[in-house]
Amino acid sequence: MSVVAGKELRIVGFLCNWCSYGGADTAGVSRFKQPSDLRIIRVPCSGRVDPLFVVKALLNGADGVLVAGCHPNDCHYSEGNFYARRRLEMLKKFLSYMGIDDKRFHYTWVSASEGARWQQVVTDFTKQIHALGPLHQKEEAGD
């Protein structure tokens, strides 16, 4: 997806259907101002997020990846986010070993009612990615 050159970066967000996607919706309905860098992919549960989704996105053009799910103990499927937590923590520790800044990846918990918190998460994460700059050089894009 194209970006507004010089202004936007590509950030991919994997949001759980039951909490974080609802939270993002709440933020939208409440007309909270948010940066427009994020592209949201709705997944059934944060447990659906294979760490390889994140790796694939980062290697293939994303400048940052955000994963959000229900708070621990609030998973719609009882335990999906507990598995996700272990996997994503492992990934977070692993990325920088391969030379990819782990600040480009963030995972957090946002419930459907937390519109304001969602706004905060997106704004802060986008700021963080903008501080790091683009991950990919232009010439590599068509490689």
């Binding site: 760490p51 390889l52 790796v55 694939k56 290697l59 293939n60 621990p72 103990n73 335990e79 507990f82 598995y83 937590r85 272990r86 996997r87 923590e89 492992m90 990934l91 977070k92 520790k93 692993f94 920088s96 070993y97 391969m98 030379g99 990819i100 800044d101 963030h106 995972y107 957090t108 918990w109 998460v121 802060d124 994460f125 963080q128 490689d143």
Partner: protein, 318 residues
């Protein structure tokens, strides 16, 4: 000595199983090769020396469903068997494990380098040393000088699981902490240097998939996502992105499962330190979940389970 005892054990075991998996002399004096013994007259061909480098446990998962198999394992290889048992990948009733306490193997590529890639006429193995004869003369090499990196930090020279043990158990004299020294020193480099290191190393990758094929824990090889078209995770392009992706797939699919046999590094034709990637994840598994793969058949791999309150995982702030 051990070789003679091994043959006696195999003699005893063979009538009750369909095959015994061991080693015999390969195509040249410095290579051993896996050997499937099915008839008593083949037993004499079996060998045991520091050239027996392969992890024979890798053959078991495809066999124990309908055959009774005996396998010869070193300490490092035995961890794969425990891991198979944890993941329910083998049928223990159809498996006889012949363990050999191992005082270290050689890295064939290091031996070849030591003799400058001359054609090797003969190799003789004594206690902790191999003597290699080429047309340029004889060279005596200490096993510890040409051993693969895994032997330098080996904590489990005696198999952790066995039905028959050939020889006396050996205890490791290595520091448990030293296993991940390599990872720690690598992490002291800057992010940019680390990226450049992997970029240079992985640039040589020809995606032959030897590391995957040799890996005892890569059990879904016939439907590996590195080769499947649906889902299409990696393309056939030979660029950096796809090479990184392939190795990340291999590493992440082994999270909490890698038994550190370092077969991946051994088989790599381009000499990429593939196992170094997995070692980092193993270190994380140890620190986060106090877990080392393949030590105990009753354990649960950390990615197959969870705790409601993870004491070791803290929330990340932005």
């Amino acid at each position: 000595m051990t070789q003679k005892k091994l043959k006696e054990v195999v003699q005893k075991v063979l009538p009750d199983v369909d095959m015994v998996i061991g080693y015999r002399q390969g195509f040249d004096p410095v290579h051993a090769t896996p050997f499937f013994v099915t008839r008593p007259e083949q037993i004499d061909e079996l060998i045991w020396n520091p050239l027996c480098v392969h992890n024979l446990a890798s053959y078991i998962p495809s066999l124990t469903t309908n055959k009774k198999v005996a396998v010869i394992v070193k300490g490092c290889d035995s961890r794969a068997i425990n891991q198979y048992l944890q993941e329910n990948l083998i049928n223990r009733e159809n498996l006889v494990v012949i363990g050999i306490p191992c005082s270290g193997v050689v890295s064939v590529s290091k031996v070849l380098k030591a003799v400058d890639h001359q054609i090797i006429e003969s190799v003789s193995c004594e206690n902790h040393a191999v003597t290699v004869k080429t047309s340029q003369g004889e060279k005596k090499l200490s096993v510890s000088d040409v051993s693969p990196d895994k032997c330098k930090t080996c904590l489990y020279p005696t198999p952790l699981v066995y039905d028959h043990l050939v020889g006396d158990p050996i205890t490791s004299d290595k520091e448990p902490e030293s296993v991940y020294d390599e990872v720690r020193s690598f992490e002291e480099k800057s992010l940019e240097d680390r990226f450049q290191f992997w970029k240079t190393e992985l640039d040589r990758c020809i995606r032959c998939y030897a590391c995957r094929n040799a890996c005892p824990m890569c059990i879904c090889q016939d439907r590996c996502i590195a080769e499947s078209r649906d889902p299409h995770w990696v393309t056939q392009k030979t660029n950096q992105t796809e090479k990184f992706m392939y190795h990340m797939i291999h590493a992440l699919h082994l999270a909490g499962r890698c038994v550190e046999c370092e077969e991946c590094t051994r088989v790599c034709p381009m000499e990429i330190p593939v196992a170094k990637i997995k070692k980092k994840i193993n270190m994380e598994m140890d620190q986060l979940f106090d877990y080392k793969a393949g030590l105990n058949a009753e354990d649960t791999p950390p990615m197959y389970t969870f705790k409601v309150d993870e004491e070791t995982i803290e929330e990340h702030e932005l």
